[in-house]
């Protein structure tokens, strides 16, 4: 009971208050630095607050959240043993500090046969590009703070979305270099699988957003979000806002968010980007229960950088999805009213705090969605991954581009596009509701739910497969030259 109360209080009071407080501080800090240094200096504090504080801290907390949330889903308690100075800390917070210290002070190990330079370059190339990604994601509105114009984004280049595609695809070098330079057959398998999977899904990833670019005629992320009322996603498709000639007390309507305009693109983008993060169900390159993965020879902080970059990818992917599909920092309804109130007019910092909090709450929700997906679905087989990427996502992406194009040209107000989008959402919902429990994945999940009353830290598929996997791995080892020719079936997927 007290645990439920603790979780509810955290979700509805502590976390929003914390987010709002930090965002207000970020605006105040930016306004102050602009005043004492030069106009535009707030971009530097934005680097500090958004990239170092928000993304890094959220990513490290997600490593803990993943263990705690999976424990919740499997009716376990999860990590709760680490104390700080002999005193217990709630929610296992001590564990993530202990993990960081452990990684930093572990032996900086290098296998004798590895290629030193490339072996060290691997984690660098996996970590650095992912870290830089958040630079173009806007996390709050542009406001007047202490007489200075402060925005909550590191950079607003015209090529925003292209920057994300370009820098994100650099991470593939890190994983394939790590796999190859370790001079280990499992690492090599993981490396080529990772490279092949990431480039396969990059095609679908690139195609999925073309429809949104057509609808909003831009690739700049703040333009997708919309700074001024009536631009980007900051407007209603149907609603009683000022554009409709009405002056309501409180504006309601259907916002022009990407998810309503392009639900198919959202599913494509989410699936493709999820495959890029190499998390279950797309975790063949890592496959803990069979080949361990491209980072099998890495330990300590070098492994930690691979792991941390994976969790940063979760945060950044959520941020990008919020900006493209969920209206960025905008409220779904009532934002025009909120901006018009006397309180918000006199204290712009408050508006920044509220809208910044909205942005980060959306990001947290999508992070949670990604963890739920990761702990719900069993791993794909490698041929299924390639099939999904090339035979499903790519054709659907191409069709989506041209259907969207026709609808946008037909009705430039995007209402027709939104109608078709709502229709797709309704059909998907109806299909989901109509056939509960018929999907093989669900039957699979129920099949071995009973095995998880204990406190094992393994995900469902892995806990179940450990026994097979050891035998399997030994077989694979003695026959690696042949095994390299054919993809290894995961015992989990094959035996059910």
């Amino acid at each position: 009971m007290s645990r439920t109360v603790f979780i509810l209080v955290s979700i509805f009071l502590v976390i929003p208050a914390l987010l709002a407080g930090v965002m207000m501080g970020a605006y105040a800090l930016g306004g102050w630095l602009d005043g004492v240094w030069f106009p535009g200096a707030h971009r530097l504090t934005n680097i500090l607050v958004l990239m170092l504080v928000f993304v890094m801290v959220l990513a490290s907390l997600l490593t803990l959240a993943e263990r705690k949330w999976s424990a919740l889903m499997q009716n376990r308690i999860g990590p709760n043993r680490a104390d700080l100075f002999g005193r217990p800390v709630p929610a296992g917070i001590g564990h993530f500090i202990a993990d960081a210290l452990k990684m930093l002070t572990k032996e900086d190990f290098r296998p004798a046969k590895a290629n030193t330079f490339l072996y060290n370059l691997g984690p660098l190339l996996a970590f650095a590009p992912v870290f830089a990604l958040f630079a173009v994601v806007p996390a709050g509105p542009t406001l007047e703070v202490f007489g200075k114009t402060v925005d909550m984004v590191v950079a607003t280049p015209d090529f925003g979305l292209l920057f994300i595609f370009a820098i994100a695809s650099l991470a593939v070098y890190g994983t394939s270099l790590a796999g190859w330079s370790s001079n280990n057959k499992f690492a090599l398998l993981g490396g080529v699988r990772a490279a092949s999977q990431m480039i396969s899904y990059e095609v679908a990833l690139g195609l999925s957003l073309v429809g949104l670019m057509m609808a909003f005629s831009t690739v700049q992320l703040p333009a997708f979000v919309g700074e001024a009322l009536g631009t980007g996603q900051f407007r209603y498709l149907w609603g009683n806002d000022a554009a409709m000639g009405l002056r309501p007390g409180f504006d309601v309507g259907l916002p022009a968010w990407g998810i309503f305009l392009q639900p198919v693109a959202f599913v494509l983008f989410f699936a493709a980007a999820f495959a890029e993060t190499k998390r279950a169900p797309f975790d063949m390159p890592e496959g803990e229960s069979e080949i361990i993965g491209y980072f099998v020879e890495y330990s300590g902080m070098k492994f930690g950088m691979f792991m941390l970059s994976e969790f940063m990818e979760i945060v950044i992917l959520s941020g990008v999805m919020v900006v493209l599909f969920f209206g960025g920092y905008h409220l779904p309804i009532g934002e025009e009213w909120l901006r018009g109130t006397e309180l918000m007019r006199s204290y712009p910092l408050l508006l920044g705090a509220v809208l910044g909090m909205v942005f980060w709450l959306k990001v947290l929700t999508l992070c949670y969605l990604q963890l739920v997906v990761r702990w719900t679905f069993p791993r794909f087989r490698y041929d299924q991954v390639q099939k999904l990427g090339w035979k499903m996502l790519l054709p659907v992406g191409l069709v989506n581009v041209f259907v969207t194009g026709a609808l946008v040209l037909w009705d430039p107000s995007l209402r027709l596009l939104a109608l078709s989008g709502l229709l797709v959402i309704a059909v998907v919902l109806a299909l989901t509701m109509a056939a509960p429990g018929e999907a093989p994945a669900e039957a699979h999940g129920e099949g071995h739910g009973h095995a998880h009353g204990d406190t094992t830290a393994l995900p469902p598929s892995h806990a179940h497969a450990t026994g097979h996997a050891q035998v399997h791995a030994l077989n694979a080892h003695t026959a690696v030259p042949q095994k390299l020719e054919t993809p290894e079936r995961t015992p989990v997927a094959a035996s059910h």
Partner: protein
């Protein structure tokens, strides 16, 4: 002073630089803080506890190269779509038809590799 046209890109450069510096710094810090006790067994490749047999530098399936080639073709297609998509509403139905012709040739290519079995992983 007139701001340079490159000024908007300065924060981006700082962010990229910071990403590189941070990654190197963390790795250096870990190598300074950690102990260093190498041994012959520890330095072996970890292959499920067995002694490694043969070298890991060997040939792997040609399918991975096929995927890489297909990636080049279709990703370049996607890149060609971006400038068209941004100017889409000015180009109108004429631009739509032109790009449909371009995409159709690539769809023919996709059908060809599909029928050829290049997308089948199990062979």
């Amino acid at each position: 002073m007139e701001p340079s046209p490159l000024a908007p890109y300065l924060p981006l450069a700082v962010a990229l630089l910071l990403a590189g510096v941070l990654a190197v710094a963390v790795m250096l810090l870990a190598s300074v803080l950690g102990p260093r006790r190498p041994s012959a067994v520890k330095s072996l490749a970890f292959e499920a506890g067995n002694e490694p047999v043969g070298s890991a530098r060997q040939r792997f399936a040609v399918k991975f190269y096929v995927v890489a080639l297909l990636f080049i073709v279709f990703d370049v297609e996607a890149v060609f779509l971006y400038p068209w998509a941004v100017n889409f509403q000015q180009l109108g139905w004429f631009g739509y038809a032109e790009m449909a012709v371009f995409a159709a040739t690539l769809v023919v290519g996709l059908i060809y590799v599909w029928k050829k079995g290049a997308l089948e992983w199990e062979h």
